[in-house]
């Protein structure tokens, strides 16, 4: 079995923006997030013969990207989003939470909730694909995302569900 180099390259080219986005969110830095993605694919290339094929290649690659980003962070994830460059406050009707407050609220989430949140919103993965990427049950993904939403709602009462 194992993963083919062509398949890895295809996954890399097809999903690079999502990989970069999730890694940047985890690491808290665009450039180091980019490095994490490159390193993850370096690992994937080195270890492609160990891919067992018991799940989708995409899930295996996501696992490598998430792990490489966590390695790259080298510090508690609770601080990672604090270090992203501050963006202008989102324009709108006043219902959107302010960026700094949202960073803080996300930073206070447990790590698993943050990872599920990032994969759902920044990579647009469905529950099954998140479950496969993080090696947890789809039901756990649903519960975890629900908990993350609830925690963020508590912080921002003005964000309705």
């Amino acid at each position: 079995m194992g993963a083919r180099l062509d398949d890895l390259e295809a996954a890399y080219r097809e999903h690079l923006p999502q990989f970069r986005r999730v890694a940047a969110a985890i690491v808290g830095d665009e450039e180091r997030g980019r490095d994490a993605v490159q390193e993850a694919f370096g690992r994937a290339i080195r270890r492609r013969r160990t891919f067992r094929g018991s799940g989708p290649l995409e899930a295996w690659v996501w696992r490598l990207v998430v792990n490489a980003a966590r390695d790259q962070a080298r510090r508690p994830l609770a601080r990672s989003l604090d270090e992203l460059p501050s963006e202008p406050e989102a324009a709108g009707n006043g219902a959107s939470p302010r960026g700094d407050d949202l960073r803080m609220a996300i930073a206070l989430l447990p790590e698993r909730q943050r990872l599920v949140l990032f994969l759902r919103y920044y990579a647009d993965l469905d529950y099954a694909r998140i479950a496969a990427a993080l090696e947890i049950a789809p039901g756990t993904v649903a519960a975890t995302l629900h908990a993350a939403h609830a925690a963020l709602r508590r912080t921002f009462q003005e964000v309705p569900r």
């Binding site: 690992r43 891919f51 960073r103 759902r120």
Partner: protein
């Protein structure tokens, strides 16, 4: 599935760029993937300097002990030495761990489960070791090839009337875990929980002839509930990649082939059935061990647990009868020269065991009778006779 919250999505969008115009650099990924062994060694050497400095400085700051020289640790008192010596006393042939009890040492004292536990360790003659935590348990790896091993304690459980032992174990709640990983196979250890939480406990490495990192971990109260329990201890390499899993026996989540390097599997034997081919596969592990399973109709059917090197032939008779494609197939571990089917009409049929495995399809006479193990001289092993109908694997 819950749809993304549009307001939250919008707010999150503002935090991290979309990277829609990210420029791929596949050549860089290839370079990283093909980093030569020499370069990696050079990197390791560069890394080693600060690590060495850290090891020299760390004791002053109480940051860790680096690698404990085993023969520099305190020798065990006589009562402990006698305990270790007793591990070999009366052991059945082939089961003697060969512990060198006189070299039992005190590796350290850990605090978990509300009390102090001393870890005693003694090498074995074959290159392994025996370990014993006071008030905690332990065991022996005679060969020195077990990649990861853990002992633990369960919270007191309410036992329902009629509940069997396995059910009680699966409903158990670990409260602490202690164990080791072998340094020649792994660089770290991770404890996995039912809810997806992963914890990397700190290891205390002990030098050769032990060559292992020991850990103990008090499980937080929040993880002592169904749905959140510790379920396995995983040995990982320097990249955090899986090497081996030791399941704690709780919960129902197990992958019996988790340790198998499937890419390197080998078809040992094939049997044609009315509904396709049943194939007995083996695959290596990343710790020199071996996993064995049956494949039929796209399904993987575990035959034996993945066994560390040197233990493949020590299993007595671990076999099961599988009903596949209209045939009955006996497969499993066989630590003897052969097995013999004893038919009801008094006739017998002998099947050789090869490389610690036995695999054969059964005729009606085999399936209705008994089976026993034979040694190299063809003599039946006392107490090895079993009823074949009782070997049917649950489906």
């Amino acid at each position: 599935m819950t749809d993304p919250d549009p307001l939250l999505a919008s707010a999150l969008d503002s935090l991290v760029p979309s990277f829609d115009d990210a420029a791929p650099d596949w050549a860089d990924a290839l370079r990283r993937g093909r980093r030569s062994r020499r370069q990696r060694l050079a990197l390791a050497a560069l890394t080693a300097v600060p690590v060495l400095i850290a090891l020299l400085v760390a004791p002053a700051f109480g940051l860790g002990r680096g690698v404990l020289p085993f023969f520099g640790t305190e020798k065990a008192p006589q009562p402990v030495v006698r305990d270790f010596a007793s591990m070999s006393t009366g052991a059945p042939p082939g089961m003697d761990p060969g512990v060198i009890a006189s070299e039992t040492r005190k590796v350290g004292v850990w605090h978990f489960g509300g009390k102090a536990h001393t870890l005693w360790v003694a090498p074995t003659r074959a290159g392994g070791f025996c370990d014993l935590w006071t008030d905690g348990g332990g065991g022996c790896d005679r060969e020195g090839t077990v990649p990861v091993d853990a002992v633990g304690a369960m919270a007191p459980m309410r036992v329902a009337p009629g509940e069997d032992t396995q059910a009680r174990l699966e409903n158990g709640i670990p409260v602490w875990i202690a164990g080791y990983v072998r340094s020649k196979y792994a660089a770290g250890v991770a404890i996995r929980f039912e809810d997806g939480t992963v914890v990397r406990p700190e290891l205390t490495w002990v030098s050769e002839p032990i060559g292992a990192g020991f850990f103990a971990y008090d499980i937080p109260t929040a993880q002592r509930a169904i749905g959140h329990r510790a379920i396995s201890v995983v040995a990982v390499d320097a990249d955090g990649e899986h090497v081996a899993t030791d399941y704690l026996g709780v919960g129902g989540l197990r992958d019996p082939l988790a340790d198998a390097v499937i890419a390197e599997r080998h078809a040992e034997v094939e049997l044609e059935t009315a509904h396709g081919t049943a194939t007995l596969y083996t695959a290596p592990t990343r710790y020199e061990g071996r996993c064995t399973w049956l494949e039929f109709g796209g399904e993987q059917i575990p035959v034996t647990p993945c066994l560390p090197k040197g233990y493949e032939h020590q299993a007595a008779l671990g076999v099961a009868v599988h009903a596949l494609g209209g045939r009955l197939i006996l497969a499993g571990e066989c630590g003897y020269a052969a097995v013999e089917f004893l038919h009801l009409d008094g006739s017998v049929r002998r099947v050789e065991c090869t490389d610690g495995l036995v695999f054969t399809d059964l005729n009606p006479a085999d399936a209705a009778g008994e089976m026993r193990a034979l040694d190299a001289d063809g003599h039946p092993l006392p107490g090895s006779t079993v009823s074949v109908p009782r070997l049917r694997a649950p489906r």
